[in-house]
Symmetry: D2
Subunit: 265 residues, 4 copies
């Protein structure tokens, strides 16, 4: 984890200080990492400190090895800076990170909360729009059909927005994983979707830079999905187009269209 | 504030380390003070640190003078240790502290949240039962009829509890103020209600201890309402009986019966 | 305090997010305020959170009225983000804030610490170069001769630097007050000194903008000393030149040359 | 780690709430764990929150597996509650925890600090007596001769105490490790030394309780060294006598007399 979180030239730590592509220059309202280890349940470490000044994070990234992890730096959009509002959110095997917001959240929030499965209701610990998106996805079947559930979640938020006078409620790139696969989505109700990048096939990248020692260590299946490229190496990163979903998995990855599914009726 | 929060022999700071009368020996999951100053809106200072180690609190208590303030030390009963879960909670002119819990909160929470006035819904910032009691009281008319609103809140929680299989859901001593009056309630659905004490009339106390310099400084209207007496001076404190409400106000204070009002139908 | 800390167009809160004139774009490694109230000792409130997200700060600035206060946002230069490293530092009636650093601090630190009056040694609570400058100034006579003591402190740091191979050790703008006067210094051992501004005479400013309601409320003696102007109003701010000291006091303020005094021998 | 930190009947988490044998009922001024993993340098996680409410700690203890770790809950004895004052302290391969205090620390501190190797001086990050003991031990040769270095450290502190009028300056049980061995010391200058226990040989304990599934999982070399037993199982724990040092190591452990070595001259 150290390699990606700290050592890359435009690492996540750098992005906590100064992101390049987003409206929030500083992402200093907390951060978190979620990782899969030897247990069934993933580990989560979250803190309200700016990522750059958290000494524990340095140690954890140096010590923990994981085949699949999510990391997030937060720029709050109105809700409190507290650990329960930091990403990733976790439920069972699932962890979830979100870059974006629900426009008109104050207006939509109650209706969205009411739509969460009553069995899941009490598991919501924070107050962010992001956590709510996660619990809506769980409500709409994330366990059984991940991408359709995410599409139903998006469709429900948009339908609720339209009903309550918010035209384009959804701005989201998100990453969600069950430990086997990583699902990454880039979508916005309006015209501009937050950026999303994926590293190119490790075999191709190594061939491109045969003398790069760091790249030589990458396994064939190594893949990074990021809001912003972690460096400037030409040929390293590919932009994921808006309204699409990426499945990173053992074997060939998949890229699909992402289309919100409005609720029936 | 310094006098009561720090200097009393069994001060609130001492109670954060070791309360005598409650089931939670240690009240170290955050604390808060709310005070009325020269502004319309009261000030609130809350922190997740144990009260005894917070250096800012020492300074604030030394610097701030206020004719009416509430202070609280928290022992969490399941919800996260975060500032938004610390008392006092504030809404407009009102501040609110609670010592107790809702039994079966996980089961009752969703129904209680749904009963909050949709206009107020988005003002709930934390996840405690205590804050929810406050917003239910606001929903049931705290602004216009403080004590009846608190009785309706208690009646609603008890009715919801019975409906969902929780016999005695409410354990509460609470303090709530609008800056003019302090309303203190001692009530439990079951047999045992958390303790509540009020200091005796300052004139009587001074007469009892004519040579006590600290007591000599008390104004005629000085009054302290506490979960546990701040010292052991005989004649200083009087227990407020269960199922009663105390109104501390300019002129003579009042003590009334507190009886939950179940919702109609 | 609210007016200056929050409401100005380029307020201190804005500067915590994005300072304009300094090398540290983000000043999010804690903050603090120190103020003189009705007690002999000033109050201090410090926190490691970024100033923009601290809710307590908002309340304190809204509630506390003070004729003289210092506020600071920190960008750490190597030492830990912790409350004891946040400015202002306080000793008796004195509070002290510093914008800058000691170059080669790791090399110079031990010798500087050893020069602190042994009686004061145990009062050093943090590990910053800034707090050490304060204790050196106290050691060199701040109580009796404020400006000469600051000049001796600067001279001692420079002599120590030269002895240990650090040519230009000192970069500092600082503010220090005893509650009666504010001493502000702009100095650097090298060519470039951090910026320092002072608001122009309130009478002149009001005359310049006779219709500005906010300025109309300023008393004749109102004065703000800042690292960066709090707004863009022409005629409002004046740059304090390098190597100078400003004394803001009842009656006419003074501006003097600031020249480090090397230790004798 | 989860087993020992959380699941034992009188686990460290319980001891953070209510220790049985020490003068500090509550150890809620922060905590820390240090562990050896796959890297040369041990990992350290420290936090100022009470151990019982730290959610990250739960995750880390569940996820991290380590053959050798130290854990500590802190009750501050005057110095600030901040991460740099939390144990374990780390230097290179070494981690260090201490239960106790230096009597008259304010008086002795400067002389002790001055005795720290100037090369190490700048590595001191906090202000505790405990960290200072660690850096003195490093100064006196911990790397090369661990126990003699600890004895020289103790001798130096006692000599300094006597010189400055503190008769019995040292109260300490401590644990220090280089990843290969754990050195545990129980010593006090005065009559009463803080408690120290070690678990009995895992083979003997398993024989004593042949049906205990948890004990069955213990390896032959499993050993716990604690301030207070983690449970009440008869035959499980043995008290380490005062003025002794224990070396837990591959193969047979050792128990030696611990005798402070005063500085020559």
């Amino acid at each position: 984890m150290e390699e990606l979180v700290y050592n890359a030239s435009h690492s996540l730590i750098e992005q906590s200080r100064a992101a390049r592509f987003t409206s929030h220059l500083t992402n200093a309202d907390g951060f978190g990492i979620g990782w899969y280890g030897t247990r069934d349940t993933p580990g989560v470490y979250r803190s309200v400190a700016p990522a750059w000044s958290d000494r524990n994070l340095q140690d954890l990234c140096a010590q923990i090895e994981s085949p699949l992890f999510l990391a997030h730096v937060r720029a709050a959009t109105g809700t409190a800076v507290q650990q329960t509002n930091c990403h990733p959110f976790r439920h069972g095997r699932w962890i979830f990170v979100h870059n974006g917001f629900i426009d008109g959240y104050a207006r939509l929030r109650r209706d969205l909360v009411l739509a969460v499965d009553p069995e899941l209701f009490d598991r919501i610990e924070g107050t962010t729009d992001s956590e709510l998106l996660f619990y809506l996805a769980l409500t709409f079947g994330l366990d059984d059909e991940p991408l359709p559930a995410l599409e139903r979640m998006a469709g429900f938020v948009e339908a609720t927005g339209r009903r309550l006078g918010v035209d384009d409620p959804l701005q989201m790139t998100l990453g969600v994983s069950d430990g086997e696969r990583l699902y990454a989505v880039r979508y916005a109700s309006g015209d501009v979707a937050n950026s999303l990048y994926v590293s190119n096939d490790a075999r191709d990248v190594r061939e491109l830079y045969p003398e790069d020692a760091r790249l030589a260590r990458l396994s064939d299946e190594a893949r990074a999905v990021v809001s912003e490229p972690l460096g400037d190496l030409p040929g390293m990163w590919r932009e994921v187009p808006p309204s699409s979903a990426l499945i990173v998995q053992p074997g060939a990855d998949e890229e699909l269209t992402f289309a919100p599914r409005p609720p029936a009726g």
